[in-house]
Symmetry: C2
Subunit: 436 residues, 2 copies
Amino acid sequence: MKIPAVKGTRDFYPEDMAVRNWIIDGWKRVSLRNGFEEYDGPIFEYLTMFQIKSGEEIIEQLFSLKDRGGRDLALRPEITPTLARMVNQRINSLPKPIKWFSVPRLFRAERPQKGRLREFFQWNVDIIGVENGLGECRADAEVIFTTVDYLRQVGLTSEDIKVKISSRELLASYLRSLGTPEDKLESIYTVLDKKNKLPPETFAQMLGEQVADNKIVNKILDFMTVDSMPQLEELVKVKSESGEYSPYLDIRCVLDDLDMMGVGDFCVYDPSIVRGLAYYTGIVFEVHDVGGGLRAICGGGRYNNLLRDFGGPPISGTGMGMGDCVLEILLKQKGLLAKQVPKRQVDYFVTCIGAIGKEAWRVIAKLRSMGYSANFSYKMGGLSRQLKEASAQNAKKCIIIGEEELKEDKIRVKDMATGNQELVDVDEFLSKLTSA
Amino acid sequence: MKIPAVKGTRDFYPEDMAVRNWIIDGWKRVSLRNGFEEYDGPIFEYLTMFQIKSGEEIIEQLFSLKDRGGRDLALRPEITPTLARMVNQRINSLPKPIKWFSVPRLFRAERPQKGRLREFFQWNVDIIGVENGLGECRADAEVIFTTVDYLRQVGLTSEDIKVKISSRELLASYLRSLGTPEDKLESIYTVLDKKNKLPPETFAQMLGEQVADNKIVNKILDFMTVDSMPQLEELVKVKSESGEYSPYLDIRCVLDDLDMMGVGDFCVYDPSIVRGLAYYTGIVFEVHDVGGGLRAICGGGRYNNLLRDFGGPPISGTGMGMGDCVLEILLKQKGLLAKQVPKRQVDYFVTCIGAIGKEAWRVIAKLRSMGYSANFSYKMGGLSRQLKEASAQNAKKCIIIGEEELKEDKIRVKDMATGNQELVDVDEFLSKLTSA
């Protein structure tokens, strides 16, 4: 009986696993060096968890299941609700700010497309509990820096990718200044979030369905095409003129911090970034390939009400999520996978002239216990066949155990790169091994 | 709105994640040094996958769900069916033997108990495609060696744990010699597998329900109490006397190989090991704590029909699965977690006298890009508060950036262990950093 894999899932054969591990290990290493600690939650949560503050799109795409008591569960489509739950559970004992990262496996029951699978990995970094406005901007900047730190590390440059930064708060204050009622904001965000995915006419029409006044529609469309900070400053100043704090300053501050951190060339203001998730309240951002052929590589932003919405105190947070699918496509396009993902290697391949015996086992067991990878042939072929198998496994060295040499307690060590062979005393060889 | 986690799942706070990572990294490292390559499959498969050859117990405990087309899926309760599917898909192109490992997250919808959760991690190693009898024993031995190599590495000795080895084939041939019909074997296995979990009377009674003849019941009970190889040899010889190949020889051969590999003191013959899964055909084994207070730490065995049962060719396999829950309990009991799981550390904590500015960002960004973990304070407190925060994060060194020193392009580097401070040129310090 032959059963296929479920569509939209992936089988990770060793060569695929090498790519996945390389990506995930990189995420982890960069998170740690940026001062984040790792956490994780369960693969499934009560269904209601994801109905509180996730975007419409996510809710429609949940994989739901039931526990034995008939309670509704769902496979996690994102980890932020779990993060909110976990932080709320220990809100008093956790030192602030909380700088955490995670690499959850996530699930969406949507039709599989290029860069969108039903099952994927997502790198998440979050900073929760920074208490003042200046600190909040710095936290937003640090999340973005960490993101760029990774993307730069794997070889992407500011010619390849851009971090497009905007602010929900700025957008809200602009929409309010045009007389938009509070309860209309979220449905307008949903439309604005689609700007880059729709033809301009369709977009304008959809916006018209949310905003009756055509003059206001045009003003929103103008706002959405601002593409520099001076242009934005002018527009916002004209609109507020109060000299008070303005969400414009947040963007300015985040961009300045990123500049000081040395990644300013990756970052631009872009009002078309709105994000689909309902919980964002301030700075929002996405990383896009400059070529523009792909979906967003990652996205994130500030969510100052999320912990409260999940039954906790009103503590601010900011974070980022990066999936593995689009990233992998981009890295492959740029030729950055082939030259960086490590190839399979074996430190030692132990070959025997004659039957594999006690001495071979002793050598293999000792090599392994010292931390060296060691393999041998199951095929019971001659030496040349065994050496071929060693080459196929990319062995660095071969041990050749021959009955004649063994009589004098000696074995041969062959360097597979140079072909050089050395005859050595077996006990001396084993005792001289230093931990790998 | 406060929503709890689902019962039987775990939240991994950073200190829990450190334990999980330490266990899983150890599994991976030992697998690689034993010559295994990593693979993984999807979290869910079509439900029918798990109905083919898994044990009764597993089928009852599946978390099932549906895809958008209404097809029945299940969260994987084990990875072996996925392994069979993946190997069958590429059976002609994969070099044999296939030595693969995986660390899948698995799911069972059972009532949570000590050491049994609804969601857990399981280390799997498998060797598929070894073609002759002697090689098969060697593969069984290598799987067991790899298991012990890990357990020994984390500090467990042969005083703490024993590998109990038996053979389904030997059991079958013994049962056949007593006149047991072929179609009765599996239901008898199911009873025998419960021997150590039931009071002796209940066990004898359940066996009596499967085997009508009381004399035969007693013979089976005798067989199940054999506890040494000489005793077994006598019993099996008396029964067969043909001088032909006997499954007894497999056990002998596996034990001899394990002895040559230097782990003989961990291994014993134990007929009470039967294993619940329906797909085992030869050698079976479990690792138990000598104290006996815990469930099996791991189990495995030979499955020579599995690939064929999943629509592939009749290729032999052998493997092992070890969950993280019982292992963690045992390691905690033995005090082996506390002294081995690494504590959180930060390489550098960058402090500022006065506001954090361009120079601090430059230092932090450079340290991170060189691979050092670097943090700073979000709290905007004085130097002593910042140094306290650095201590709480277990920082190895602190950088102190003061406005006065900066005028001369200097910063202080404080060793947190010794308390020593050094005044250094900032550019020189940064340019001298070697990759972490």
